[in-house]
């Protein structure tokens, strides 16, 4: 790593940049224009947020608060927990602990760092982690391994058997940084009393670990507060999901990103509720006016992303979709499987929130966490009930997708072991399917220009536009 990269802590710089970005949003139009002149590399990304009005502003505030929580945690006497997007932070908030979700911070680096995650990612290899590991963790992890961020007090992950590469990154971090770690694990099936029993016991064991590490007892009232907020959020999400089914979709394409990133950042926090409400209001208005959520107002085609999105170069995927009139029908990250969502009708694999007492609340959280993105859908064989194929096909049908797109990272052993099979099945079911060979977090693998050219080719060859 270059000495100048080590000169300042990376998280401090992200924090200050986000602070400035939030301030820019509150300025006059003239002030904003001047600001834009001074940030030629980042004006596109700020534009993305500005273009979405209130939700964009709230989202930016939410991201800033997330970083602010991290940067001020230790001075406020709070513990910092290194974790993954597959793990719901709700329990951490209930225990007054501050999460650092590596994959989210990796996306932030890509959004706010001219050079992207390259140098930090490469530091992981210097430290001993394989360069074939997933870039979603490596981006931020490299900075933490290099000692350029707030120190983790402990680590909680939940991906052994769901994504071994992810789990391995956290196990490596624990050994390298000499920090205690806990990994939630899951049987390869999703439902059944024995499976529920396993989830619940493991989750309780994790709470013991958290209590030991934080020195705090899990507070029933605080937990109830968080769960009730999640319940509210689930209801708004269900409305948004229902609205998304309409043709044309009244949801702007970035809403999908706001939904899952917001949930990963702030599940159970009132600021997320505020964001979701502002999104819902706009989507409802669009729906009432029979308007598509795209800036052009015209929906040409509908794409379901069966895995994740693409997060390099000013988050260019979303503007690329907008320009072509392609609406985003969600991805594996944006579905959380609450019992009130439209895609859970007649399905037995949803969770529900029961805040009757401490036990029911812990069981609810265990059920919710065991249905987090990836944890739910790729823990077992791709063609087993409630797994990747069934979810993808039912979502594609329900949301009337015209095509399916796989975007991932070369580090994803689990999906690369089955995506060709999935694509065959989805094609057979009548959905043109495109496999992207790029790295969603690292443009050095394939430039966005090359990636978007392949996407253009797919949409053209398959007659989708």
């Amino acid at each position: 790593m270059r000495p100048e990269t080590k000169a300042y802590n990376f998280d401090w710089m992200l924090w200050r940049t986000l602070d400035l970005a939030c301030n820019a949003m509150t300025g006059t139009e003239k002030e904003l224009k001047i600001v834009m002149r001074h940030i030629p590399y980042f004006k596109d990304i700020l534009d993305v947020f500005l273009a979405y009005g209130e939700p964009g502003k709230i989202f930016l505030k939410l991201v800033y608060e997330y970083m602010d929580n991290i940067m001020t945690a230790h001075e406020k006497g709070k513990k910092i927990c290194g974790t993954t997007f597959c793990f719901s932070p709700a329990i951490l908030y209930a225990m007054d602990t501050v999460p650092v979700t590596l994959e989210l911070v990796t996306v932030l680096i890509n959004s706010l760092w001219k050079r992207g995650i390259g140098e930090f990612s490469d530091f992981c290899y210097e430290a001993g982690l394989t360069e074939t590991s997933c870039s979603s963790q490596r981006g931020a992890l490299g900075a933490y391994l290099a000692g350029l961020g707030e120190t983790f007090d402990f680590i909680v992950a939940d991906t052994p058997g769901v994504c071994d590469t992810n789990a391995n990154a956290f196990a490596f971090a624990s050994a390298y940084l000499n920090k205690p770690a806990f990994a939630l694990t899951f049987p390869d099936r999703l439902t059944g009393d024995d499976v529920d029993n396993y989830h619940q016991k493991d989750y309780r064991r994790m709470i013991d670990f958290l209590e030991e590490q934080t020195g705090n007892r899990l507070d029933t009232d605080r937990l109830r507060e968080v769960l009730q907020e999640i319940k509210k959020q689930d209801e708004i999400l269900a409305e948004l999901e229902e609205l998304q089914r309409a043709v044309p979709s009244p949801l702007p394409v970035t809403y999908n990103f706001f939904i899952y990133a917001g949930r990963f950042f702030f599940a159970g926090k009132p600021l997320l509720t505020e964001l979701l409400l502002s999104m819902r209001d706009i989507a409802v208005t669009n729906m009432q006016e029979e308007r598509c959520g795209l800036p052009s107002g015209k929906e040409n085609t509908r794409a379901l992303f069966c895995y994740i999105d693409h997060y390099t170069t000013n988050l260019a995927l979303w503007s690329w979709l907008e320009e072509r009139g392609i609406t985003h029908m969600g991805n594996i990250l944006s579905r959380f499987w609450a019992d009130n969502t439209p895609y859970n009708q007649n399905r037995s694999n949803a969770y529900n929130i029961d805040s009757t007492n401490l036990d029911t609340m812990i069981d609810s959280l265990a059920a919710q966490n065991s249905r987090m993105p990836m944890v739910k859908s790729i823990r077992g064989p791709y063609d087993a009930p409630g797994m990747w194929l069934e979810d993808t096909l039912s979502l594609a049908q329900m949301y009337r997708a015209d095509c399916i797109i796989y975007s991932g990272t070369p580090g994803c052993r689990n999906t690369w072991g089955m995506v060709k099979l999935l694509a065959r099945d989805t094609e057979e079911a009548g959905f043109p399917t495109h496999i992207m060979y790029s790295d969603s977090f690292d443009e050095r693998v394939e430039s966005w220009e090359a990636t978007s050219a392949r996407l253009d080719e797919f949409f053209a060859v398959r007659g989708l536009l």
Partner: protein, 380 residues
């Protein structure tokens, strides 16, 4: 004196397996050392660890798996697709890692595309990633369920009733393999690393009764055998990803080293000693607790200490840390180990390779030669 083991380590359908099938008895392949072979044995089935060294291309494996996947499961699928596993009556896939677990779906899909590729008995066997009480309960249920499937498919006699004899047979086997390690001591080494790994690999590739009998004969011969030439040869330990290719060890020894110990999935890897008790529960507990694989996350320090103990015990001069490309679990463990070994002044070489016939021979040889040369000067 080790010909039968070498044949078994190089050829999946070796002479002892051939004899087994000629006797009309079933063979079931498996993919991971977490599978309790005793249960299959008690069902009258030959448990055979699947290996993919006999491929000459990967066009079938590559058709089903994506490109960023370890070559081992791709080689296994290639073996299945080219008829080299046709003698199998069954196969069991275990989530040893993400690449290997997807062999389940890829093989099933290939079975639909190419008639006869999929054995008539095909099962997925879940293994937890931790060793808590509830993980043990889960694993016991999985083992019990597997026994039920075997009983139903192979219409076997009482598996539970036969289990004690199988446990005893495998305990004896492990005892014999441990005895073999005694013949690898410094200044009195009677067996090369090449031959020793062949024995270990053969233990998973031969009927256990035949293996034990042949190993007893070998041990008896080794008692009176002349020591192998050791002067000037650094004693190496090999660790990392699954290695059933004795040619890699041969390459190291041809370069002037003596491989005196391994800590790999096909070698001196398992820490399962004598299984106490005769029950299915005791077998399950031993297999869940008794392997040193990085798939059991959060146990790096235990694995490192076990390797350090083996280095001490075997008078090791240098360590080869190898991993198959895309094996992030062993690869990252190797990264941690490299740093810890350096702190202790133990020379090590970290290499990444592909699984399969030794296609990278010259590249590996160059690095191994350089490593051996660099540590030879330090030999006492």
């Amino acid at each position: 004196m080790t010909e039968i083991f070498i044949e078994a380590s190089k050829k999946i359908y070796n002479s002892s397996v051939e004899q087994w099938t000629k006797d009309g008895k079933p063979v079931v392949g498996y993919t991971c050392s977490h599978l309790p072979a005793e249960v299959l044995h008690a069902a009258g089935v030959l448990p055979l660890r699947l290996r993919g060294m006999e491929v000459s291309g990967l066009e079938i494996g590559d058709s089903y798996f994506g490109p960023f996947i370890c070559t081992m499961p791709r080689c296994l699928l290639q073996m299945a697709g080219t008829g080299k596993f046709d003698f199998l009556e069954g196969a069991i896939v275990t989530p040893g890692c993400d690449s290997m677990r997807r062999l389940d779906e890829c093989w099933r899909k290939a079975g639909k595309d190419m008639e006869g590729t999929l054995p008539s008995f095909f099962a997925y066997f879940d293994v937890p990633h931790k060793e808590t009480d509830y993980a043990h309960d889960w694993f016991k249920k999985e083992v019990l369920s597997l026994a039920g499937l075997l009983k139903k498919h192979f219409v076997t006699e009482d598996i539970i009733g036969k289990l004690p004899a199988s446990i005893e047979l495998y305990n004896h086997s492990r005892k014999l393999i441990k005895e073999l390690q005694q013949f690898r001591k410094k200044n009195d080494c009677r067996i090369t690393g090449y031959d020793a790994l062949a024995v270990s690999v053969a233990s998973t590739s031969m009927p256990r009764e035949v293996f034990n009998s042949e190993l007893e004969k070998l041990l008896s011969k080794l008692k009176n055998a002349a020591p192998v030439k050791e002067k000037g040869k650094p004693r190496l330990l090999v660790t990392g990803s699954a290695t059933d290719d004795i040619q890699i060890i041969g390459l190291m020894e041809d370069s002037g080293a003596l491989v005196a110990a391994e800590k790999i999935c096909f070698g001196h890897f398992k820490t399962i000693g004598t299984i106490e008790g005769n029950s299915l529960e005791s077998v399950a507990a031993a297999y869940l607790d008794g392997t040193e694989c990085p798939r059991m996350f959060g146990k790096y320090e235990e694995r490192r200490d076990s390797i350090l103990a083996l280095i001490e015990e075997s008078d090791i001069d240098g360590v080869i840390l190898q991993n198959i490309r895309f094996c992030d679990l062993h690869g990252s463990d190797n990264g941690l180990l490299e740093a810890d070994l350096r702190k202790k002044g133990i020379p090590s070489l970290r290499i990444e390779r592909e699984y399969g016939p030794l296609v990278e021979r010259e590249r590996l040889k160059m690095r191994i030669d350089a490593f051996i040369e660099s540590i030879r000067g330090n030999l006492s």
